[in-house]
Symmetry: C2
Subunit: 758 residues, 2 copies
């Protein structure tokens, strides 16, 4: 690779200062003149028919300006796909979970809005409800949506090879069922939406989101106005973790109230509302049947998964597929069958989450550990035996163009002292290994990849205009660094305009792990385009060949002769004087098979490339309290190339926190008849910095042929494999095969007591 | 010309609604959290040395946050050109006019700021002052600036051909001296500046301006920060008229206070401050010596002009040249000499104004009228004899590629009934003709012309990103119409992002009459670029040849077959699906001779093309009161092509108001020892709508070969020629040759009385 100045360096982020000083504005901070406060009335019932909504008394509260219900929306429905358009953004006839939006008040102040909520009289006919997928699929269960038999929202059937024959030919076959509870995203920032509307009906909105263009498109459709009348604006964001891609009723309601009243409106969710009425991670019941040969080589695997999807589809088809897809990317699977069911229940809506499928991932790995034990093998060797390698195709026919999974496994194991520890640790201590893989961009609502423009100031500063969004992961820094690197300018010479749907061209959004791959490449191409234009001007002035020029350190010069170089700002001015101003543009879309579909045709290139990760966790379990102390985590990921190792490591650490520490040890929603019992930080245990173990990060660089500088995504396959490693380690420490996740102290104490009893 | 859908139509402006409803925000309307109020302490003396500034008592006023004086600025100086950098944006040692900025206070509220102003103690040493150019040039006059002998700020000497020989060979020679007073721009919006600064030192500013990139560049230099740390933002504007191009101390002060305090600051000028401390139109003393042959053909002209430039240079070199340039464009001049002097005086700073050089223009035309009379000719015929024709070069070697001056003169005269009226009107009635020409873009501070990007929304809406600014003349509408026309979309499908220096690439600004020509062409080229990309996609889908395609009515179709066309939004989506998103870019800079200089080398192509206008005014004078009633005005202009006749006529009407009605009949500053006596609407007579005569507009279309759709600038040559026509008409009505402008009722009454006395 060429000599890099900024890329690959541990540089502090351009957005840090504003965030640590509290200067950065989040949606809840926005104050606009004449701004109204919005509050939402929610269903108290998990399932009920709305018989009547009486707004008369509420409307008479002084300060109340507007109240909307489903009647005001013509029952506009939303769904990520045409065939999953099942959610009325304000229900007209039925509510389907405790928290479903029934009405929204816009008032001059919060007190008036809250008073009005209390005075809205809703007559409900309470309907029977279902709270888990198996009950929901049972004969006679109440149906949530018409046209979805047995409440099955999505069924993804995949069969590659011949699983039955594979199982029949296996030396050893195991079948186990694993379960996991719903999870909260617990972004540090609860949803807040500010929207404004001018007299011509132009709406602008600020809210945390993972995909401004996707959100704008959804709002455009839902509000019935063209995209040039709805602008999603850039705003600082407190996390997304996969849960802020598709549109929420809160966003629609706020924009609708702004549009109706031609006034600014702000809706700030409480922590409780954010837990209930945005998205949750699916719970899951998954049965995994695996057949292996004498060596532990997987010959066939048959998986059936039931996911509790809650009341509406959201990203259902994707959520039903992704655990399988990550799995088929990670392991060689000559024969594999999958039946994934996402089932409606009268619970909050579930969506994609950073760690999606704890039961799946931890189930597969811990089952393989048991198989290894039965075969008398080291689980590490069995994992290596089955690990994906570059140049292979996944079962559903995605070519794997770069893959460092084996290197990740080996390096993580070595660093963690696997050979000296596995099976040799003192009592109550254990070590576990997890392996996983994720995509870098699959086809979704926004088409055509990412686009970028670059313009120049007269003094040589450049402005990158990109639709990409930063939810906290460092995308802004990534884009600025890429542009600076390509133009040979310092970071301070690059400005970024991003995540504003009015100004910036399409970008798919910061989900499916695509931003570095797509927007990074688009900005790189735009910068290369601008650099070529700069070189054309400089080549004439320097009487040099364009191919001999380099841009570095703010200069353009013939390779080897920086002393004779021209300052880049000078070349910018020369170009202006010569009436050929520098204007860069670039676009990049991952090469995927656009004929591939989630449900009907799950075959073809899913994502242009994939990241791979392996995590090893070492734990110590306190048999008295069931408390798990994590002694050390080693996380190794093939991220292609680390554009900024500091940010990559930050992603690894966050992934271990969310996937392992929280996801496998503490985080689980608790319910009573559709009511969420632990919506806030007090009851829902999100790991804090002080809870975290020492983490050793290992960056494995395979230099992907398409990724910018060889980069793929960073961190996501750690989030998954950390969950797997934690589960394996606790099992290794206790000798108890936990099959229900997370493995909370309560479950450990109970299991140990049960073992005692036996 | 091809079939046009929107261009050339009388369409209402896209920005009208927000303006007529009062929704549009002007800088004075902006309120930001923690915003400080700024007030400026100004010099009470026309010329004085600052001995000491004591801020102690002012600083102790509760609520005062910051006070700046010249000491805080390291005496930073500004000037449009390097050789005219004579204005300290906050004076350190000397003040040079009544109103010169001495200190500025930023306070939590206006009361505190005003109280602090009163408590700032400045010790001055009053210096002798000069108030007119001739006294200023006299031996022993106090000098305002070092290095400028006799207070001559700028001397433009031009000599083409042999003027002395031409005069010697003339049949008739006349020499007359004309004078005119200073004029106010009287924009409906006084200057207001709002600025903000974040903790990283990024400054953003909103204020009415004719050239955001020019202003940003000046502020970048003055504040010593790069262009990517100073962003001039789009804001609604109440006029510019040439007076808002170079940077003002008020803009610098507000940005400086924001930068120092990392807080928003707002400075709103009173009407008095706006009249004194922004810009004024120059006063002028001009001697014109003209030699003609027997037919009235001008053989030679010798002009010497003295302009009162006030205390600083501002746009001095341009202001000293432009009256001559307009003149040389209008008339065939085989031999011409010009000596233009801009002289410093202890009066407010003078700049370019929409009607610059009343004494010049009205002098030339009314002198030619007298010459015609002496020769027994109709002034109309003499004007036609000397009128510029296409294909000619001006004396300073600008090629005139399109010119409809003669057609303007003939059509205006015919419509006004010249033949039946000239010399045949009843007593106290008169008719007069004026002719003029202006540029469409001359080289100035911002280089490289105008740049534009176009991006598309998924639903087919397009967003134009252009640096061009709209001061009220309709530039926004022009750009939107051009893009819509080229893309075959309705106006509502086009969004405009403009006049924001952070987002938009360079544009020269809305002065030198260049926006339609430069930005209009840049947007046209960007739209053509985008259309070509759309056609590439559509051609494949339609199995057609790209050259056979047209974009019209929201469709792309093979010429003649709209029924088989593809909706443009569909083509946009096809392009996205094919991963070749539509991204338009274009740039355009008028072809001018960049080696031309205002003072040292006034030779070469000044502007790529020129507009021409002729105005006829018919008046009736009340001999008792001196009041001039304008009965009718006919204004004919060669604007190349009227992109929107309604807007063009609006420009004509505004030009007649400013150039004729106000400029020639009422508007003049009055002085007492450097103190402006009539700074507000109460004393300074700006014509109101009810004062205006019926105006008949004639659009002459010469289809300029380079202008977009053949368009040049609209209205400016009417402003000049209206001044000339009004003067000629009043002279024709009274039989008195007024040589001092404006011709106020007072002057008419006095002149009539003097004639009586003789």
């Amino acid at each position: 690779m060429k000599n890099l100045s900024l890329i690959g360096k541990r540089l502090p982020r351009v957005d840090s200062w504003a965030k640590v000083t509290g200067e950065a504005l989040y949606a809840a901070d926005l104050k606009l003149p004449r701004m109204l406060t919005c509050k939402v009335l929610r269903s108290p019932h998990p399932h009920a028919r709305i018989l009547k909504i009486d707004l008369d008394r509420a409307r008479r509260v002084p300060g109340v300006v507007d109240i909307v219900t489903g009647r005001d929306t013509a029952g506009v429905k939303w769904g990520v796909f045409a065939y999953t358009r099942d959610q009325e953004l304000l229900p007209t006839e039925r509510v389907r979970y405790v928290g479903d939006e029934v009405a929204a008040v816009a008032a001059e102040n919060e007190e008036a809005a809250l008073e009005a909520l209390e005075l809205i009289q809703v007559d409900y006919e309470v309907l029977p409800a279902v709270f888990d997928p198996l009950s929901a699929m049972a004969e006679g269960a109440p149906l949530l949506h018409e046209g979805f038999e047995k409440n099955i929202n999505v069924h993804v059937p995949i069969h590659v090879g011949d699983v039955d024959r594979g199982l029949a030919e296996s030396h050893l076959v195991r079948e186990d069922t694993f379960t996991s509870q719903e999870e909260s995203y617990f972004m540090s920032e609860p949803l807040a939406v500010a929207a404004n509307c001018d007299s011509a009906g132009n709406v602008e909105a600020w809210f945390p989101n993972a995909a401004p263009h996707q959100k704008a498109k959804a709002l455009s459709n839902a509000l019935g106005i063209p995209l040039n009348k709805i602008h999603v604006r850039k705003i600082a964001q407190g996390g997304a973790f996969g849960g802020r891609s598709d549109v929420f009723p809160g966003e629609f309601i706020t924009a609708l109230l702004a549009l109706r009243n031609r006034r600014p409106v702000k809706l700030v969710y409480t922590r409780e509302e954010n837990s209930i009425a945005t998205r949750q991670g699916h719970s899951m019941i998954v049965t995994i049947k695996t057949g292996v040969d004498l060596e532990g080589r997987v010959l066939a695997r048959d998986v059936t998964a039931y996911m509790d999807g809650g009341a509406y589809s959201s990203t259902g088809p994707i959520a039903t597929s992704v655990p399988f897809l990550c799995h088929e990317q990670t392991y060689k699977l000559p024969n594999v069958r999958y039946n994934g069911f996402r089932v409606y229940t009268n619970k909050p809506v579930r969506g994609m989450i950073r760690v999606h499928g704890r039961a799946w991932a931890a189930g597969v790995d811990t089952q393989l550990d048991r198989i290894a034990e039965e075969l008398g093998k080291d689980p590490l060797e069995v994992r290596l035996l089955n690990a994906r390698e570059p140049g292979e195709y996944t079962p559903t026919k995605s070519f794997v163009q770069s893959c460092g999974l084996k290197e990740c496994i080996r390096k993580a194991a070595e660093k963690a002292g696997w050979k000296d520890k596995y099976g040799k640790l003192p009592k109550w201590r254990g070590i576990g290994l997890g392996t996983n893989s994720v995509q870098t961009g699959f086809p979704l609502g926004i088409r055509g990849g990412s686009q970028a423009f670059i313009k120049f100031n007269e003094d040589g500063g450049a402005t990158v205009i990109s639709g990409a969004v930063d939810n906290g992961q460092g995308n802004d820094m990534m884009l600025v660094t890429v542009a600076a690197e390509e133009l040979g300018l310092p970071l301070t010479s690059i400005e970024l305009i991003s995540a504003d749907t009015q100004v910036t061209a399409n970008d798919p959004g910061a989900y499916s792990m695509v931003t570095t791959f797509a927007a990074g490449n688009a900005v790189k191409l735009a910068a290369e385009d601008a650099r070529r234009q700069l070189f054309e001007v400089a080549a004439e002035a320097l009487e040099a060949n364009i191919d001999d020029l380099v841009a570095q350190g703010g200069l353009i010069f013939v390779k080897g002769s920086p002393d004779l170089g021209l300052p880049l700002p000078k070349v910018v001015r020369m170009a202006l004087l010569q009436q050929r101003p520098i204007m860069g543009r670039g676009h990049f879309a991952p090469k995927v098979d656009h004929s591939r579909e989630w449900v009907k045709k799950p075959e073809g290139q899913l994502s242009e490339t994939f990241s791979f990760g392996a995590t090893v966790a070492e734990v110590e379990v306190d048999p008295e309290t069931g408390r798990v102390k994590v002694l050390k985590v080693v996380a190794a990921q093939d991220c292609g190339f680390a554009l900024n190792p500091m940010i990559v490591e930050g992603q690894f650490e966050g992934s271990v926190a969310m996937g392992g520490q929280g996801g496998m040890l503490t985080e689980a929603h608790r319910w009573f008849e559709g009511h969420l019992l632990n919506p806030t930080q007090l009851e829902y245990k999100v790991p804090l910095a002080c809870d975290m173990p020492p983490i050793e990060s290992i960056i494995v660089e395979t230099l992907d042929p398409t990724g910018p500088y060889g980069a793929k995504e960073a961190g996501m396959s750690i989030a998954m494999s950390a969950a797997q490693a934690y589960a394996a380690a606790v099992i290794n420490a206790t000798g108890i095969w936990f099959k229900d996740f997370p493995i909370t102290p309560e479950k450990i104490v109970r299991a140990l007591a049960e073992r005692e009893e036996r």
